[in-house]
């Protein structure tokens, strides 16, 4: 899935601002940004990369069962998330750590999810960043249904930029093969939902290459559903910002759904349980390391005059974030037994209450067991 002349790019892999002709219609959105915004994008990417590295270490040290690293995909995530407005709703897959950071969740929630102290980790109503969804592609339909509700509420196309609402769903190249993603495209097109489908094509669904998911470039697929689409260099944070900003604007304005394919690459493993050396070549990896989204923005910023003091400051802040996550991860306890029964239903449920009470009594029955006999229980 190589780039073509239609792929939108603003910031080249070498860190030069060289918008492609295909980028022209999106430039007005880029031009609204200031150097302070560029620096913010850089800080976002640096923070999440430090967080990601720390989380990987914590997994290796036994603090989590699993970690899905996001390194390499920061450009696609930061640009698109920074293009969203507070009232927009985001439905992530499970690798959108940078989007969560920007939407304002406590990143410890992701750690808790992967550690096994919760199936959730945060309250989406606080940030409009919905929970991670682990079954591939399921969230696409939730996003579409949510967006139908936004339309029914009349929160689209009023012209009020503070209330008109869009919905954005993140998914990967593997998910495009799931029926739910196709069904979401059908419903989105039929009901003209205010919605952006944001595909991060990181080229690998665990060990299966994107060529097995599709014989045509994936950005062409939604057009068959009647949904406009654009392919971008997903490692270009400016392209990701500008194109997403336009698509979200279109959605909020009542012009229906759109689809963005961000070409990017998962530099690390699928998760910490994966071994990408079994299916990827070193050459391929090296070619994508050269296209790193963080380095190219650093080059560009230095050209604009950002000095070591700025980069040192960003690095220190990112290190602080990572250290804070480490400290709080190590302090995480075991959830209470009630976690099994709480919120299985919203309304009272007799079976749940009965079993909750039984387990409490069963546990209490060991209270008088001498400590020396504890081992026999196990």
């Amino acid at each position: 899935m190589a780039e073509s002349e239609t792929t939108v790019s603003l910031l080249s892999a070498e860190g030069r601002l060289e918008p492609t002709p295909s980028a022209e219609q999106f430039l007005p959105y880029f031009e609204k940004l200031t150097e302070a915004d560029y620096r913010q994008f850089y800080a976002d990417m640096a923070q999440i990369r430090a967080f990601d590295a720390e989380a990987t270490h914590l997994q290796r040290q036994g603090q989590m069962g699993l970690w899905p690293p996001s390194t390499g995909q920061e450009g696609a995530q930061v640009g698109s998330a920074r293009a969203s407005r507070p009232q927009d709703h985001i439905f992530p897959s499970y690798r959108e750590h940078a989007v969560g950071l920007i939407r304002g969740i406590d990143l410890l929630g992701i750690i808790e999810l992967m550690r096994g102290t919760t199936h959730g980790g945060w309250n989406p109503q606080e940030t409009n960043f919905h929970l991670y969804t682990l079954v591939i592609g399921s969230q696409a339909l939730h996003a579409t249904g949510y967006a139908m509700g936004v339309t029914f509420d009349g929160a689209v196309g009023t012209g009020d930029p503070e209330s008109d609402t869009a919905v954005m769903v993140y998914f990967g190249d593997g998910a495009t093969s799931q029926g739910d993603v196709s069904e979401a495209l059908v419903f989105a097109a039929s009901f003209q939902t205010p919605q952006v489908f944001f595909l991060q094509n990181n080229h690998w669904a665990i060990s299966v290459p994107v060529s097995t998911q599709s014989r045509v470039p994936l950005y062409l697929r939604p057009r068959g559903f009647g949904i406009p689409s654009t392919q971008i260099d997903g490692n270009d944070v400016f392209a990701s910002y500008a194109v997403t900003a336009k698509y979200l604007d279109d959605a909020r304005s009542g012009r229906g759904p759109g689809f963005i394919e961000a070409l990017t690459y998962r530099i690390g493993a699928h998760t910490t349980s994966d071994d990408p050396t079994k299916y990827r070549t070193d050459d391929e990896l090296a070619s994508w390391v050269k296209r790193d989204p963080v380095l190219r923005l650093e080059t560009y910023l230095r050209g604009l005059g950002a000095d070591d003091a700025f980069f040192d400051g960003v690095r220190d802040e990112a290190a602080d974030l990572a250290a804070d996550i480490r400290r709080r991860t190590l302090a995480l306890g075991t959830p209470p037994v009630g976690k099994i029964f709480d919120h299985v239903y919203s309304d009272p449920h007799p079976v749940i209450e009965e079993q909750r009470e039984w387990l409490a009594q069963y546990e209490a029955s060991f209270d008088d067991v001498p400590a020396s006999a504890e081992g026999e229980r196990a």
Binding site: Y146, M148, G179, V344
Partner: protein
């Protein structure tokens, strides 16, 4: 050690308070003064009336499904509702069950109360993942910050002579899934009230409609005080054998009870109404009285609602039983071609046979 299976509480309501003392009271009839509010109608029309009431009472209630708008659904349960409430309240969806359930989840997250129609029982499986992995678990995943007030209406069961995939009884799959509630009305009155209670529930409710019962008429008490959604109901009083069933099977059980009465055997019939949770109060009360239990269903017997009731009653009322709990069920074979469905589906004779076997102990 306390064994959970000895606990006999755990019903949503005081079952003695709602168990009618005679069959005449079993329709939750309103006082005689309110006789105008009693109407006779088929179960399908009662559902239509219940849905209309829910749409009138709460703007957040939406109906969605295949062919439910202009056509009024293949069984006409939603007839006239799109015309009355508009295409944004009564939505003709694309033909995709996972899409229907998945978008209903998103709508519920937005604050709506979607009521989805699955056209036929055997068409529910494309939506199975969204129902069991998402709908059932979302409130739990959100630790209570999100509720899922979604109703999935499913016409189910045999007796209509239809082709493959159109006569199945898949309720056990959903009763097995934590986070779902599963109910099935057997009378027009229950249909009218239970659909409204299901919509009012803040949890996902699988609402199984016995399609064989869509057309026979019964009294509906429009001003009645509804029985709680998850309460079971004594449909006929008796003293020697207890029969338990749900949906269209209740009609068979009442027929069997009548035939047994002609032979001098007094049979009590309990309409489950709710398959998850199960209200064991009236069942255990009855078994303590009769000492004999026959559980009947159209669904295959293996790992079924009937199996669950047999196990639980054996655990909780062992010393009251005079005979093993017997199951009468569909066979553990695919639902057969229509011309032999009458041999597959349990009828009153098969129930009577089980009554005889129970009494023989």
């Amino acid at each position: 050690m306390t064994d959970i299976t000895t606990a006999q509480t755990g019903v949503t309501v005081d079952s003695e308070a709602i168990a009618p003392s005679s069959p005449a009271q079993s329709m939750q009839t309103a006082p005689a003064a309110a006789v105008d509010s009693i109407q006779t109608m088929p179960l399908g029309r009662a559902l239509n009336a219940g849905l209309r009431k829910a749409l009138q009472d709460d703007d957040r209630v939406l109906l969605m499904g295949e062919d439910i708008g202009t056509l009024g659904g293949v069984f006409r349960v939603t007839e006239g509702l799109q015309k009355e409430f508009g295409p944004q309240r009564v939505i003709d969806t694309p033909l995709a069950e996972s899409g229907i359930v998945g978008t209903a989840i998103g709508l519920a997250m937005r604050g709506y109360r979607p009521v989805c129609e699955i056209q036929f029982d055997g068409f529910i499986y494309p939506g199975f993942d969204q129902i069991t992995s998402q709908l059932a678990k979302i409130t739990n995943r959100h630790e209570g910050s999100v509720s899922m007030p979604v109703v999935i209406r499913v016409p189910y069961g045999g007796h209509i002579g239809a082709i493959e995939h159109h006569q199945e009884s898949p309720e056990a799959y959903f009763a097995h899934t934590a986070g779902l509630r599963v109910v099935s009305p057997s009378t027009p009155n229950d249909a009218y009230w239970m659909i409204q209670e299901a919509i009012a529930s803040n949890d996902p409710v699988m609402f199984f409609e016995p399609k064989a019962r869509y057309w026979p008429k019964g009294e509906v008490s429009l001003a009645g005080n509804p029985v709680p959604l998850h309460a079971s109901r004594v449909a006929r009083e008796g003293t020697e054998v207890t029969l338990v069933g749900h949906g269209a099977m209740v009609t068979m059980l009442l027929q069997a009870a009548e035939l047994a009465a002609q032979e001098g055997t007094s049979v009590e019939v309990i309409d489950l109404r709710s398959l998850s949770p199960i209200d064991y109060g009236p069942i255990l009360q009855s078994v303590h009285k009769t000492g004999r239990l026959v559980v009947a269903q159209e669904a295959p017997g293996f790992v079924s609602v009937g199996s669950e009731i047999a196990a639980t009653v054996t655990e909780r009322a062992f010393y009251s039983l005079q005979a093993p709990v017997l199951r009468v069920a569909g066979f553990d074979a695919p639902f057969p071609p229509a011309k032999v469905e009458s041999l597959y589906l349990p009828d009153a004779d098969r129930v009577l046979d089980a009554i005889d076997r129970s009494l023989a102990y």
